[in-house]
Symmetry: C2
Subunit: 217 residues, 2 copies
C-alpha cells in the first residue's frame, strides 16, 4: 500500500514501468517536439496515437472561454491518444508537450499489423485502457466529493510520487489539474506552509510532512 489510491492524475504511478510499448512504435520515425507544441487538438479526427520516447506531455480539456482542465501528464514510455483512435470519434481532449519530446506517431495500418503479429499486445491495451478508466473515475470522484484543499493535497502527493519530495510546477498548473483557480491554490498552499506541511519556492514546492497532507481526507 505504498501509494494506495493516488492515481488522481499524472498518476500512472501504479503501473509505471509495467508497460512495454516500444514494440508498437518499432520501425516508426521519431519526431521532435518543443515545449508548448500541440500534438493533437480537441475536436479533431484521430488518425494516429502516440508513443513517447522521451519527454512529458499533458492532455487537457478547454472550455469555451479558454479555461484549461488538465487530465493527465504522460511520460516516457507511455502512449496517449489511443482512446479516440480506437473509438473513432473526435478527440475530447487536446495534448501539448510540456518539455522537449521525441514521439512516434502510430497510424492505423501500423497498429493493425503490429497487433496482429503480437496478440499479447491487445491484452496490454485492454489493461491500459482499463487503467485510464480507473483514473478518470477517480477524477470524477475527487471533483465531486473533495474540497479544494483536499484535491490540492492529493495532487501534491501524486506528483511527489513521480517527482520526489520537491515538486516543480506553478500554482497555475496545479489549479488547472485540481480544477480550482490560481488564487485558491496560492491561498491553500499558503496555509499548508503556515502549518509546516510544505515549503514554497518559486516554481517549486517541497513536501515536508506528506503524512499530514494525507490526513486531510
Amino acid at each position: 500500500m505504498e501509494h494506495q489510491e493516488f492515481q488522481f492524475f499524472g498518476g500512472r504511478a501504479s503501473e509505471r514501468g509495467s508497460w512495454d510499448w516500444e514494440l508498437l512504435a518499432n520501425g516508426l520515425p521519431l519526431q521532435d517536439y518543443r515545449p508548448g507544441q500541440l500534438i493533437y487538438l480537441q475536436g479533431s479526427q484521430a488518425t494516429h496515437f502516440y508513443y513517447i520516447s522521451s519527454g512529458r506531455i499533458k492532455s487537457y480539456l478547454t472550455s469555451q472561454d479558454g479555461a484549461e482542465r488538465i487530465l493527465t501528464v504522460y511520460r516516457q514510455g507511455e502512449i496517449l491518444g489511443e482512446a479516440s483512435f480506437f473509438d473513432g470519434q473526435p478527440r475530447v481532449s487536446s495534448a501539448t508537450a510540456l518539455t522537449k519530446c521525441r514521439i512516434a506517431a502510430i497510424d492505423r495500418e501500423h497498429c493493425d499489423r503490429t497487433l496482429r503479429q503480437n496478440p499479447q499486445l491487445s491484452m496490454s491495451m485492454i489493461r491500459y485502457l482499463a487503467m485510464t478508466v480507473r483514473q478518470l473515475s477517480t477524477h470524477v470522484d475527487d471533483t465531486a466529493f473533495l474540497r479544494a484543499d483536499q484535491r490540492i493535497a492529493r495532487l501534491l502527493l501524486a506528483l511527489a510520487e513521480e517527482d520526489g519530495v520537491t515538486v516543480h510546477c506553478t500554482h497555475e498548473f496545479l489549479g488547472g489539474a485540481a480544477g480550482v483557480s490560481r488564487v485558491t491554490v496560492s491561498r491553500v498552499l499558503g496555509q499548508f506552509q503556515k502549518c509546516g506541511m510544505i515549503h514554497l519556492g518559486y516554481g517549486s514546492i517541497r513536501l515536508l510532512e506528506p503524512k499530514a497532507l494525507e490526513r486531510l481526507f
Copy 2:
C-alpha cells in the same frame, strides 16, 4: 449527426446495438436481481464482470457522508465492471439494479477462454473501453465547465435520446447524475417549465422544446 456529443452519461447511445457480448456470456447461467439489489461494491476486489441480459443498472460513486454520484446507466446487451476486472485494482464505483435484471457473471477463466477462442472480441473490448474513456472525459468536461442548468439540460437530452420525449426519473436521480443537489434540480426544472421547454409530471418530465434546451450551451 443526430445526437452529436450527448454521451454525457447513460449515454451509450452513440454505440447502441453495435456491441455483441452474448458470445462472452454464452453458456453462463443467468442470475435474477431485484431493483435496488447490489451487484458490486466500491472498494471490493473484481473477480467478475457482468453481462446484462435484461434490465437496467446504475454505476455510481459514494462519498464518505453517503452522497451518490451516478456515472452510467447500463442497459440490456451491455457489459459493466470490466475496467476493474481487467486492471486488477479494487472497484472505484458501485453498481446496483435499477429494475428487475437478468445478469451473467463472467469470471476470469471463462473470459480468458472466450477471448482466446474469439480474437475479434479483444478488439471489441478495446473499442468499448475506449468509448468509456470518452464518456468519462466528457463527464469531467461537463462538471468542470458547465453551470447547473446546462448540465441538467444535457442530461435530459441524453436521457430522452434513450427513452423518448418523456423521461421517467426523479429530481433526486437527476441531481445524482448531474452532480447537483435535489433542490437545485427542482428550481432549474421549474424555470425550464416556466419557459415552456418542458412539462413536469410526478416522476416524469416531458421535453417540449429540445432545441431550446440545446441552445443553453
